[in-house]
């Protein structure tokens, strides 16, 4: 992605610049550069700067406190829990969501009747905004109404408030994440499966390869680039999870269901602790950048 773009741009033949070309450069580039600098690059740099201060956002940051924000962060149980939660989201994405997406893709990629309709149904939750999906599932998980209540009622048990149970609330969030996102990765895998040369599979079949062998030695390797890409996107998406936490639990009960971004929102933004919140942002930045660059160097070199 980023790196491959940079690499290819070095190899292109140069077009001769003339006055007309310079005019285009001077008119066409500044809007993008200005917007990007003001709203992306500067804020990110300022986050690094603010994170060394105790600042409420008014006046100028003056109370320099060194690494105190970071030290406080490392010792903060809620933040550590948020880190673990982000890790859980990544784990569930890799172990449940992507395999489910691949299985669904295998089933709807063949010429089975209704395949197109199934694809659309599975993709549908991805189109809904996270807050919409979150509230729908808040209803499903509600102890007095919805799915959980219905099941409990049918069994004649006491109402159970899943989202208020500190041992299980985050599991509920994980279910919603898989529900909402597996269809997107299924679509990517379907596109990948359609790109596989049919004659490979036919040749293997003629040679007596079993369905499993064809999957293991042809389909899976051919899907490799798409799988590596999906892993990349699901990890990056997992790291910035926020929208879906708010309607479901708002980080509760007892601050057990925060993610890094919801922690940043509830403990940094709503309390206007700019320095502390910026420190959270910087930690998130380093995790994202380290992952993005490391992953592309190691796993996506050839894609």
């Amino acid at each position: 992605m980023v790196l491959s773009t940079l690499a290819t741009s070095y190899l292109e033949p140069a077009r001769r610049m003339n006055a007309n070309g310079w005019a285009i450069v001077l008119v066409f580039l500044p809007p993008a550069l200005l917007l990007f600098t003001v709203f992306v690059a500067l804020p990110m740099t300022e986050a690094a700067w603010y994170s060394f201060y105790n600042w409420n956002g008014y006046g100028r940051p003056e109370r320099f406190i060194g690494l105190t924000n970071y030290r406080y962060l490392i010792g903060n149980a809620t933040f550590l829990r948020a880190l673990v939660n982000n890790g859980l989201v990544i784990a569930v994405s890799l172990v449940v969501e992507l395999p489910l997406a691949l299985a669904a893709a295998m089933m709807v990629a063949g010429r089975i009747a209704g395949a197109a309709a199934f694809r659309m149904i599975f993709f549908l939750p991805y189109v809904l905004a996270d807050v919409g999906a979150g509230l729908i599932w808040r209803y499903m998980f509600d102890g007095d109404y919805g799915l959980v209540a219905t099941i409990k009622g049918a069994l004649g048990l006491q109402p159970y408030y899943l989202l208020a149970d500190k041992d299980w609330a985050f599991t509920a969030i994980l279910i919603v994440i898989v529900w909402k996102y597996f269809g997107f990765y299924m679509m990517l895998f379907v596109a990948g499966l359609q790109g596989i040369d049919k004659s490979l599979l036919e040749a293997a079949e003629i040679d007596g390869a079993s369905p499993w062998q064809r999957f293991r030695y042809i389909v899976l390797p051919q899907l490799g680039p798409m799988i590596r890409l999906s892993i990349f996107f699901s990890v990056v998406g997992s790291l910035q999870l926020f929208d879906i936490v708010v309607p479901l639990t708002g980080g509760g009960p007892f601050d057990t269901t925060h993610t890094m971004v919801s922690f940043l929102y509830y403990f940094g933004i709503t309390r206007m602790r700019v320095g502390f919140g910026s420190a959270v942002g910087v930690v998130l930045f380093f995790i994202c950048v380290t992952f993005a660059i490391g992953y592309q160097r190691i796993f996506m070199r050839d894609d």
């Binding site: 773009t5 940079l6 990110m44 189109v127 509230l135």
Partner: protein, 285 residues
Amino acid sequence: MPAAPRDESGRRLNPLATIAIFGALIALAGVVIVPIYATALGGFKELGELRANLLGLPHQWVWKNYWDILAGERYWRVLGNSLIMALLTVALTLAVASMAAFAFAHLKFFGSKHLLGYLQLGLLFPVATAILPLFIKIRDLGLLDSYMGVVLPQVAFSLAMSILLLRNAFKQLPDELLDAAMMDGCGYFRYFLFITLPLSGPILSTVAVISFVGSWNGYLLPLVVLDSESRYPWTLGLMAYQGQYNTSWQLVLAFITLTILPAILMFLFAQRYIVAGLTAGAVKG
């Protein structure tokens, strides 16, 4: 039975495998659909009925829940706000990103690759990382509680991906076109306007879909930037509505259904473009 289902290599599947696959697909589709279906149906029920009757049709169809929302001003206002911000985001993204992508696609100058690399840094981290300084910046620019305070950062954060997609597409137009146009005395600007853009419909619509959906579904940025409920997009409006009527699930369910309806309708009518657009963002990036 459907006629002759085949596997991925075109081989006929045996009936047992077909039944197993259908069973799995229908079960999975059920899990996906039931929450949406129960939500839409719940909006037609009395609160009491929501306790016992999750999936069945309402004993008595209560149209009032939906009707009151549709007749009120609130629903249309939040949708209108979302639409304004999404359209502004799309228009600005297309204009700014296509100009920059054109310059990067066709012109080499000192530092051009470094500038492109600089803009591509935006691919590496999400809005959330810089959200607090961004809030301060928007405040200092006097853009708090305005549409532009949401739109401009959205455009800025989508630039990296948009420029990447557009530049790759612009470069694939045949070089001979540009050479011929230059020979005929057509400058870069007219070439951009009358040749590049008209020939780039598919990729422009891909970028438009990505930025429209991103803006329409956006939550964190408007949450931080907007104060007045009169400017809330539907995502914030929905949360505010839920906060206000949190003891009346039947109303909240009707409001959820009506606010997600535009996305579902758009999806059903333009599914080819939307699926292609959203997956292309991932693949071609």
